[in-house]
Each structure stands twice: as C-alpha cells, then as structure tokens.
C-alpha cells in the first residue's frame, strides 16, 4: 500500500498505461517491457503524459469521425430495410403507399421542358459525375492576372523543387529499406552513412526551400500590389540553390562532408551559393515590399522577410569558424539545426499560410494581431531552444535548462498560430469537404499544433531519458517537416497553380496524393514512435544493445513499407504538377501593373 493516495493514483494509472503499451508492443511482436524498478513510473512523467494526451486526442477525433460515419451508414441501412407495417397510412391524403408499390419518379417538382440557361448563369452542369467513386470537389474557375515573368519564375521554382522532392524521398525510401536489408548493396556512394545526409539536405534545401521561395515570390508581389523588383535576381537565386544542392550531394556521396553536423553536412563551398541565393532573395523581396502600393505591410511579408534575414544570420553563425573548436561546435550545432528548422522552414511556411489559407477560403485571416503576437513570440522562444538536442550532454547545464524552458514556451506561438488558422476556417468547414486544397491545409495546421507540442514535451528531461537517440527523433522530424511544412506547401501549390495556368489536376489524382501521403505519414510516424519507445525503455532497463536493435527491426520494416506510400504520393505530385503547368491557358488580356518609380 502506498502511504500517499496521490502516488497510489499515479502508480495505478501508470500501470494501466504500461499494460496498454505493453499490449501494443506484444501485438507488434516485441514483448520486452518487463516490470523493473528502474523504469517503474516513467509513464507518470509530465512529458510522457503530455505526449499521451496528444496521441489520445488524435485517436479520439479519429474515433469520433469514424463513429459518425458508421452510424450514418447504419441508419441508412436501417431505413432501407425497415419493412412497412401493413395497413398503416404512410402517404398523403390517407393513401396507403406501401401497398400500392408507389415510388416517386424524381421529377415531380420540375418539368419535362428542356433547361435553358439564356443568361449564362451556370458555368458547368452535368448529371453524370466524372468519377462515381469519389466525391466531386469544386473546380477552380478563378483566373488570376499574373505577369508572365512571375508565372514563369514561380513555375520554375516549383518544378525544380518537385524534382528534388521525388529524388530526395527516393533516397529516403532506399535508406528505409537498408534498415531491413543492410546488404542491399556494397557501393560506397550508396552506403547508409553517405546517403542519409543526401536525403535530409535534398528535401530541406531542395524541395522545401525552393518551393517556399517560389510560392513566396507570388505572395510578396500580390500582397504588395506591385510587381517583383528584379526577375533576373529571382532566376539567379533559383540557379544558385540548385547548384548548391547538386554540388553538395555529389560531395556527400563522394565522402566529402563538413563534419557530420546535421543539416550542416555540405562543405562551405557547396553551401555558399545557397547563402548567396538567400541574400539575393531577401534583397529582391525587400525591394518589392518597399515599392508596395498599399500602406500596410501584410503580416505574411513580416514572416517572409524576417525568416530570410534571420536565416542569413543562422547560416553565417553556423559556418563561421572562429568559435567552433571543442564543444563550441556542439553549442553551434544545436543552435544551427534547430534554427534551420524553426527560423527558416517554419517561419517562412507560416508566412505562406497567412496568405494562401485566407485566399483559399476567400475570407480574411481571423486575427491580424494574433499573427503579430505569434511572430514576436516565435523569434523569442524559438531562438533559445537549440541545446535541447543535447540534453544530458557535457554542455553547460544552464544552457540545457534554458532550452527546455523555452521549448515549453513554444506553446504560445504554436497555439496562437493554430487558433488563428482554425478560427479562420471556422464557419467554412463544409468548404473543406468540397475543396481539394483545404484538406492539405487542415492536415498541416493540425500537425503544426500536435507536432510542435509533441516536440516541446520531448524536450523535457525525463522524456529525453526515454526517447533521445531513438527512432522517436526521426518520427518527430517527419511529423514536422512532412506533416506541417510539406503538406502546407502542397496546399499552397494546389491553391495557386490552377489559378495561374488555368489547368487543374485530376481530382482523383489529388485525392490519391492526399490519402497516400497522409496514411503513409501517419503509419510511418506511429511505427517509429512505438519502436523508439520500446527501444528507449529497453535501454533504461539495461537490455543488451544488440537485442534492442533486433527488437526494433519489426518497426523498421513497417516504416519502410508505409514509407513507400509517401514516395508513391510524390510520383503523383510530379504527375499533377505537370498536368497543372503543361500548356497553360492564355492569360486573360488585361494589362499587367507597371512598376512605378518611387
């Protein structure tokens, strides 16, 4: 008997979770969570509880949706099978329909005359949906008047970014298979150690960065009601970034890297073109905002400009050599890798959401001020959390504590952003079901909330004990870089391109893209989170290391299998992209805005 009722409660709750998780682990073929005093009570640590709450929320919402769907199906079936009671009056005016076999013909309220739309009010009418298997979505009929130069620039950025997405995730899929079949090849250029950074750097600097900048060019011109300051600079940036990735990847595969720090694997000569492109892009964006035709700087542009100028600082600090000997390098590495994610990808992507989400919903953002609050708290909290990648390392304890405290502080910008986006969607929920763009936004926003909160919980000291160094980290990276950034970028691409080119992708293909990517991501992260937890607990219990490797194998197999769903989705993305940009319809004949000399 425990003397304290509170501890007794937690013990029992802990045991219950333990049983739940153990059952899950056994179900997955890994019965290795034995009771041991070393790990008793790990389930009651705040970080674990928080993560469980997040998972519980997801499962609860999923269960709610599935129950609602199933109950609709059951009710429909019941109504159909309900036998009419004999003799009951079930028709108007006392007519007994069940007995007469009377059925409505379907045209009682209409006429038989042919429908004529003399004033061209209806743009498209059909009684035969294109595809009877899936719900038909609303077609995008709106054409935007986009200068030819801007359209070409944006399409070029998105084309190269889509190429790097397919290439980078092909490499990722190959790496996933190597966990299961380590003897697949014995070619030095394709070995795990050399290819792993190729995957991460390609999807970071190739896919996400190029797509972000391309989409950003449109936002910056559109919200400033002007044209881009210098199109040539845009093309230079595009070329430099692609050069960077090509050179960097070749170096990595040849065994030339910067020292193994994550996302800093390109040696500086390979990363230099990228840094130059950042500076060029910033100048171009800044000068475009400078010549804006409206007084206010739209909040999107706050995020875009700031993330560019901040990332220039991050790249400089990350590559300057004078404070990087000994553990100085480790301090910088923690800072660099987290700022790369938080200050570059997250900040820029949020800026895109502030434009593309309201425009897709055709309504203003819920709160401008909340966006500004999220902006300043983003820089305050995000900047200080890098060292949470090195908790319990020989780095100063105070630095680790600051990182953990501010990781928890990240709840403020995350909740401010999430609330703002969800409240913008509020009242338009039915629009989500009818659009092929908005579901991507919804997934991105939900993952923004869940993935970021999960990261905050993971930074706490006890959760670090279990999860650090395990596959849980990999799951977290995919939840954020894929669930948040990639889904939002896709949403923006599907929102923008049809309006620019007049060509829409096949709705079936967009649906296939969405579901393959979504199911792939979800199953992938869950399998790695479960595998990481099993591994971390086994380490705590002192299980021999190689046994924990063998125990993780099942989860890696799952990861590789469902990971291929994501890769298939990317092939469809490429297909859809080509469908949207090939043979663009002519731009409506209106004169593009001329730049005005200030």
């Amino acid at each position: 008997m425990s003397p304290l009722p509170v501890s007794g409660f937690w013990d029992r709750t802990g045991t219950r979770w333990r049983i739940l998780i153990t059952t899950g682990a056994i179900a997955l073929g890994t019965p290795m969570l034995a009771e041991s005093p070393k790990t008793a009570g790990w389930t009651s640590s705040p970080g674990v509880v928080g993560t469980m709450v997040i998972l519980g929320l997801v499962l609860f919402v999923a269960a709610l949706i599935i129950t609602a769907r199933v109950s609709v199906l059951i009710n429909d079936a019941k109504l159909k099978r309900k036998a009419p009671s004999p003799g009951a009056v079930d028709g108007p005016n006392g007519i007994h329909l069940a007995g007469t076999g009377y059925r409505l013909r379907g045209d009682e309220l209409g006429g038989t005359a042919e429908a004529v739309d003399g004033k061209s009010l209806i743009s498209r009418a059909t009684s035969e949906p294109d595809n009877p298997l899936v719900d038909e979505k609303i077609y995008s009929r709106l054409r935007l008047d986009v200068p030819r130069e801007l359209q070409n620039l944006v399409v070029a950025y998105l084309a190269t970014s889509t190429f790097w997405l397919v290439f980078g995730t092909l490499v990722g899929e190959y790496l996933g298979l190597k966990f299961v079949f380590p003897d697949m090849d014995e070619v030095s250029w394709l070995s795990f150690g050399r290819l792993r950074p190729v995957h991460t750097n390609t999807v970071f600097w190739g896919w996400a960065s190029l797509a972000m900048i391309g989409l950003g060019y449109f936002v910056i011109a559109r919200t400033s009601r002007t044209v881009i300051h210098n199109y040539r600079a845009g093309w230079w940036g595009l070329g430099l970034i692609n050069l960077s990735i090509l050179a960097g990847n070749l170096c990595l595969m040849a065994g030339i890297n910067n020292g193994g720090g994550e996302y800093r694997e390109y040696i500086w000569p390979a990363m230099l073109p990228f840094a130059l492109a950042l500076i060029i892009t910033f100048r171009n964006f800044y000068n475009t905002v400078k010549r804006r035709k409206v007084a206010e700087i739209y909040v999107s542009n706050w995020y875009l400009l700031a993330s560019l100028v901040w990332t220039i600082v991050v790249a400089t600090i990350g590559y300057l050599p004078m404070f990087q000997d000994g553990l100085g390098e480790t301090v910088i590495q923690g800072y660099y890798m987290h700022m790369g994610v938080g200050i570059w990808f997250m900040t820029f992507t949020l800026g895109l959401v502030y434009y593309y989400l309201p425009s897709a919903l055709n309504k203003p953002i819920y709160s401008y001020s909340l966006g500004v609050l999220a902006f300043w708290t983003q820089v305050l909290f995000y900047t200080l959390i890098g060292t949470h990648h090195f908790v319990f390392s020989p780095l100063p304890w105070w630095l680790q504590t600051v990182a953990i405290v501010f990781s928890v502080g990240m709840f403020i910008p995350v909740f401010a952003g999430t609330a703002n986006f969800l409240l913008t969607m509020k009242g338009s929920w039915s629009a989500i079901g009818r659009s092929y763009v908005l579901p991507f936004f919804l997934v991105g926003v939900v993952f923004y909330c869940l993935g970021s909160s999960q990261g905050s919980f993971q930074a706490m000291r006890f959760t670090q004990n279990i999860w650090h160094f395990t596959d849980f980290n990999v799951a977290h990276s995919h939840m954020t870089m894929y669930g948040i950034v990639t889904f939002i970028l896709w949403a923006c691409i599907y929102a923008l391109l049809p309006k620019m080119t007049g060509r829409e992708p096949s709705q079936t293909m967009v649906g296939a893209h969405f579901w393959l990517a979504f199911i792939g991501l979800f199953a992938y992260t869950v399998s790695l989170m479960a595998g990481g937890t099993v591994k971390g607990i086994a380490w705590l219990e002192g299980v021999p290391f190689i046994d924990t490797v063998i125990a993780t194998r099942g989860y890696w197999t799952w990861g590789a299998m469902v990971g291929s769903l994501m890769f298939m989705a990317h092939l469809i993305v490429a297909w859809n992209f080509v469908a949207m940009v090939r043979n663009p319809l002519p731009v409506p004949q209106t004169k593009a805005l001329e730049p005005q000399t200030p």
Partner: protein, 339 residues
C-alpha cells in the same frame, strides 16, 4: 516613432537586431566560452597522425549519423563509459581539421548503433574491428550496419606481403579460394582511430561527476538496493566482453576466433593458463587472430566470474577458480594494473 505595420525598414531592422542579440547570447557567447575554457586531461594521449586520418574516414563515411560519442550523465549510459563525458574529452578530436571542413560533430544525435566513446577499451581486438568493418554480420548476427567492402582488397594469397593486415574472414565466407582479404590504408587508419577511443583517466584526487539515477515513481530516483553489492554475473560479462569475438554460443568463428566450447584450455583442470590468457592476451595460435589483454578492462572478480561461467557452460566441465588466484596472477602478468 516605430511603426512595424507601415515601415518596412524598421520592421526588418528590429527583427534582425532582436534575433542577432538572442543568437549571440544563446549560441555565439556560450560557444566562445566553451572554446576558450578548453584543456586536455593531463593523462590524455595526443592523437597520432594515423588516428587523425582515421577520424577523417569516420567523418567521410558518415559514422556520426548512427554512432554517438557521448556518455550522458544518466544511469542508462553507464554501459558506455566509466564516467560521464566532459568537455576536456573532446580537446584533441574536436579540432577544425582544415579550411574546407568544420569541427567534427562527434557527439551525435542518433544511437542506431552503439556509443563509441570507449570502444577501444570494449573491443580492443584489431582482428575483430577489421572483420566487423568488412562484414558486421559475420561477428554480430543481428547487426544492421553497412559493410565497408571498399576499405578492403581481395588479393591473391601468393601476393600477400608480410606487412599486410589480413582480415580473418572465416573459411566458409571467402568467395574465391586462393584469395585473401587485406585491409587498405583507410581501414587501418579507421581501426587505429577506433582503438584509440578510450575514456582518459581523471587526474588522481579528482572525483568523476556522478550519473543521475533514473527517476522512479513521482520523479524521485529509485534508491540502490541496500546491503552488499550483488555478486558479479559471469554471464553478463561474457555477453558484454567475450561474445563479440567468441560468439554468444562460444563456438567462435572458424578462421577468426577460436571456440571456447570444448576448448582444451578452458577444460584444463588447472585454471592458471586461462587466467593468464584473459589477463595478458594471447597471440601466435595459427589460424586465429590475437586476443587482446583484459587486465585493464576487467577487475579480478569479473575475470573470475566469467572464467567460471565459461568453464561450467557450453558443454565445458572444469573446476572453478577464484578472484584471489586472478589477483596473484595479475601481479605477475600485468603488474602495472595491480595498483
């Protein structure tokens, strides 16, 4: 008056200033402090040129992606070192190698493979390291590590020079008869680096930082079991130290590591020879790689426990030895470790 909503210059400058200040405080200043307050431990050997070349291979092959080199100050990391890592441990290894590359990011962030802080002590056998790099699954069945075939060369047996390091690939694993697998310079450098990875002893009189116990229920550490420390588990020592070469079933690898099951040395009624081999290592047995000495790695109780475990398992039957015997032999075989 500053108006962020309407003045783009103000907005960008303030955002830049705030970020630069925070970055200086959280990254640049601590990094400079760490770099300036950096000195090696007095008993830490400098890295040789060969070890430095090995480190550059370690970086080039991306070993950092799966192997950490940090013993964290928490209980679960006790397996990887005798004490938590400290900044001085990285004095020689974390130096900027040349103008093209940054300081190696040795601490790592994924532990897909084991931590390597102390691997030179844990796996002191060069023969094992070579074979493991050539094909990890020959020595560790469940391993998912890549094979590093390009660090080795297959040559005709007749052309093997005396200076060559021949990899002890088991007879049934050589694809072509009449050929031998020899290590390239890259493999030799990498193995030299791996074998140099040992935690340096602290200066006498210094107390090592403690490991933080794993928090139990209610976040409080679980108190260690009261009373005398538990007897050394010979089976655990065997699986941690011996099984890598002699294999978990003690049958060894033909052509690489001799079997312990049925071995005449193990089954000798007099345990002295076995005690001597464990303490001082052994080489010269034809067809097998040399065994590294374990006198520094294991204490008397651990050696006695593991010898008794091997003598009474795997079909072996021989009388047991004790820690006192190991102690007296230690004074002869490895006097420098006998305090």
């Amino acid at each position: 008056m500053i108006n962020f909503h309407k003045d783009h210059a103000n907005l960008v400058n303030v955002a830049l200033l705030v970020f630069a200040l925070l970055s200086t405080g959280i990254a640049v200043a601590p990094a400079l402090t760490m770099q300036d307050n950096n000195a090696p431990l007095p008993d830490m050997p400098k890295m040789t040129d060969q070890e430095r070349r090995g480190l550059s291979i370690y970086v080039a092959e991306g070993c950092i992606g799966c192997h950490t080199q940090q013993v964290r100050n928490i209980e679960m990391d006790k397996t990887w070192g005798d004490r938590p890592s400290m900044p001085s441990d990285y004095f020689y290894s974390k130096e900027r190698p040349n103008i093209w590359q940054a300081t190696p990011s040795l601490l790592g962030s994924e532990r897909t493979g084991p931590d390597l802080t102390n691997v030179g002590k844990r796996q002191a056998s060069e023969a094992w390291q070579m074979l493991h790099l050539y094909n990890p699954r020959l020595v560790v069945k469940g391993s998912v590590m890549p094979r590093y075939g390009w660090l080795f060369q297959e040559v005709d047996s007749a052309r093997v020079k005396p200076a060559d390091v021949v990899v002890a690939v088991p007879a049934d694993q050589v694809d072509k008869p009449g050929t031998k697998v020899i290590a390239t310079d890259h493999a030799k450098d990498l193995v030299a680096y791996l074998l140099s990875l040992k935690q340096a002893p602290l200066p006498s009189g210094t107390v090592a930082p403690e490991f933080i116990a794993t928090p139990g229920p209610n976040g409080k550490p679980v108190p260690a079991a009261a009373g005398t420390p538990a007897a050394v588990d010979g089976a655990a020592v065997f699986s941690q130290v011996c099984a890598a070469c002699h294999q978990p079933d003690a049958k060894g690898l033909p052509g690489a590591f001799p079997p312990l099951a049925g071995s005449p040395v193990v089954n000798d009624k007099d345990a002295l020879k076995m005690v001597d081999i464990v303490l001082g290592g052994y080489s010269g047995r034809p067809g097998y790689g040399p065994m590294p000495p374990q006198a520094e790695n294991l204490n008397n109780e651990e050696i006695a426990a593991v010898i008794n475990y091997v003598k009474s398992h795997f079909g072996n039957e021989a009388p047991a030895t004790d820690a006192a015997t190991v102690k007296s032999q230690r004074a002869v075989i490895a006097p420098q470790t006998a305090k």
